[in-house]
Amino acid sequence: MKIEKGEKMLKYISKRLAYTLFLILLVSITVFFIFDLLPVDPARLICSKQCTPQIVEANRHKLGLDVPVLEQWWRFIQGLFAGRTYGDGDIAFTCPAPAFGYSYPRHECVTTMIGKAFPVTLSLALGAFALWISVGVSLGILAARKKGKFADRASSVFVLVGTSLPTFITGILVVLFIVLQFNIVNPLELGDWANPFTDPFGWLKAFFFPCATLALSYAATYTRFTRSNVIETSSEDYIRTARAKGLSEKVILRKHTLRAALAPIATIAGLDFAGLLGGAIITEGIFGLNGLGKMSITAVLETYDLPVIVATTLIASTFLVVMNLIVDILYAFLDPRVRQS
């Protein structure tokens, strides 16, 4: 019986994985096509003051833009597995696999760029996640338990503030009125990377305020969501049954109410977190963090750096799609009704 269930689950997961892969490939092709339709010519952009049609043409060849879109895409896919060589002759260089491309404006392999930017984004996402979950969910539970009382009303103020303030305003306010006023951190050091394992204090200095800023609006939303879920679950019939059994209120809250109320929150949290792994553009911008967000916005707005755009888009969508799958499976573990007949 158990083997059967495991088999079924494996079949389901492999089906979903195949679908996921297909989706990612589709996204990548779409990005290439969109870029091709853009009115901007990156070949001209990387041209310096002395621009001649021949130089532009050479650039176009260097960037690999002189072949049809689908072939461009195919080369990219090959590069992912086998690494890729750019340019010819003595200025040729190879980016090892997985090669997302080569950034001419930055003179770097995109993969290397990602290697430097991703830890920053990951720190931001993890830190914010930890903050917003711990604050948001606990506040939500407290507000639900003390419904109508002061704690509940105070939390609704927090919710209102948190959901109304967009991140860019919160960020600027934090920088202006907290960081600069109290000189907690040297503003010039604000975006500097520090390895959290070797230099935890430095890491905290760099990331505390950005994480807190990013976490604020999420925390507010999660407070509201948790509160309404807990209140709704508390009025369910099975909670009344638990009480009729003689269980204490503490046990009922922990084992019965929260188990049911937090399950949907866990799944949404996973998706929100995955969304941040692609980069939190605004927060990174305000606090000068060199994460994937900064990388991608620069590539789109300033340098029209196609390889970087493709890479960041692909990474962001991959995280989201994979997390979708994880969340679905997680929910099946949490809610037996979803599992099997």
Partner: protein, 342 residues
């Protein structure tokens, strides 16, 4: 003679912005071990509210409860209305249990049936999780669930409505309580399943010598299982008697009206149902005098319009037969007799 549970002048009120909802008003009833008391009433009669108070399941914040509900335990009497909430909590599941109407929503969807029963058991018994599950399996067997050893690990959604109610019963009885309160346990079930469940309850009552309070609106169910009956209307008990007395010698116009208005499977042929006009009263604005007077076909016969002015008391009008009505027992008995002979 004191019975196991004696409820006296129990009142439950809910303050609302529109006024105080008097859900239960000086309600008194009692039930003994091995006895089945049926509390009959329609929606808003106060039947559920009173028994939730006995179990201590009302939210203490916005509920006003007064009166007494005494459990005459071997260790001494306990008034659950005035006792400490912790004391009452320790009685729930151990001395008194309650099962509810909708078995679909009354079980936690995320825990297996065995886990939920074992949880109830481990509250009051020393033992490992394995012991609890074993006991759960025994209980599932007892309530007639086939393949109990496999089904103990299944989840509520994998059971049908009737089976789920059996699970509820198993969970309620796992600690051998002396009192089982069943709030409309079969209303949501098919009639053939209802028959099975009611038969099961009767068997279990004999085995455990339990007192059972069966809350229902179905007079057929009452006739099937009840030893004594308390009829409730507008938050009050309006008649309290044995089952036979209630059905054949009722001395309360509401009960009589109710019995007249229900169709029966064993009486065919078209005859017009004698319906009770009007609607059940609002519990915030109860009419002055008798709550049933606006709908009562006999109120006009009482002198001085007494029914509309003076609230009748619940009085023992015949041996062990209580009624809340200004009209004499004899007059009402005549009506009952002519009905029963029909």
């Amino acid at each position: 003679m004191t019975k196991f549970l004696e409820v006296n002048n129990l009142s439950v009120g809910f303050p609302t912005p529109d006024g105080l909802v008097k859900a239960a008003n000086n309600v008194s009833y009692s039930v003994d071990l091995g006895e089945t008391l049926a509390i009959v009433g329609e929606s808003g009669s106060g039947k559920s509210v009173s028994n939730l108070a006995v179990m201590g399941l009302h939210n203490p914040i916005n509920t006003q409860i007064s009166g007494s509900a005494v459990l005459n335990l071997p260790t001494g009497p306990v008034d659950v209305i005035t006792a400490d909430t912790e004391v009452v909590r320790r009685l729930r599941g151990k001395v008194m249990s309650m099962i509810f109407q909708d078995p679909m929503s009354a079980l936690h969807p995320y825990y297996s049936v065995g886990d939920q029963i074992a949880e109830a058991w481990s509250l009051y018994n020393e033992g490992s999780k394995k012991d609890g599950l074993k006991r759960a399996q025994q209980m599932l067997d007892l309530v007639g669930i086939p393949a109990a050893d496999k089904r103990v690990n299944e989840f509520p959604h994998q059971f049908s409505g009737g089976m789920r109610q059996r699970v509820m019963i198993a969970m309620a009885l796992v600690n051998n309580p002396s009192l089982l309160i069943a709030d409309e346990p079969t209303t949501a079930l098919d009639v053939t399943v209802q028959a099975q469940i009611l038969s099961l309850l009767k068997d279990l009552q004999k085995e455990f010598n339990m007192a059972i309070i069966l809350i229902t609106h179905d007079l057929g169910v009452v006739a099937q299982v009840a030893d004594r009956v308390s009829v409730m209307y507008g938050g009050q008990v309006v008649e309290s008697a044995t089952a036979d007395q209630t059905f054949y010698k009722s001395i309360q116009p509401y009960t009589i009206g109710l019995l007249d208005s229900i169709p029966r499977v064993d009486i065919t042929g078209s005859h017009r149902l004698r319906s009770i006009p009007g609607q059940p009263p609002s519990l915030i604005n109860l009419p002055a005098g008798c709550a049933f007077a606006p709908r009562c076909s006999f109120a006009s016969e009482v002198t001085d319009n007494k029914c509309r002015v003076v609230e009748p008391e619940l009085v023992e009008k015949r041996a062990d037969h209580f009624a809340r009505c200004h009209i004499s027992a004899e007059q009402l008995l005549d009506i009952s007799a002519s009905r029963a002979g029909k």
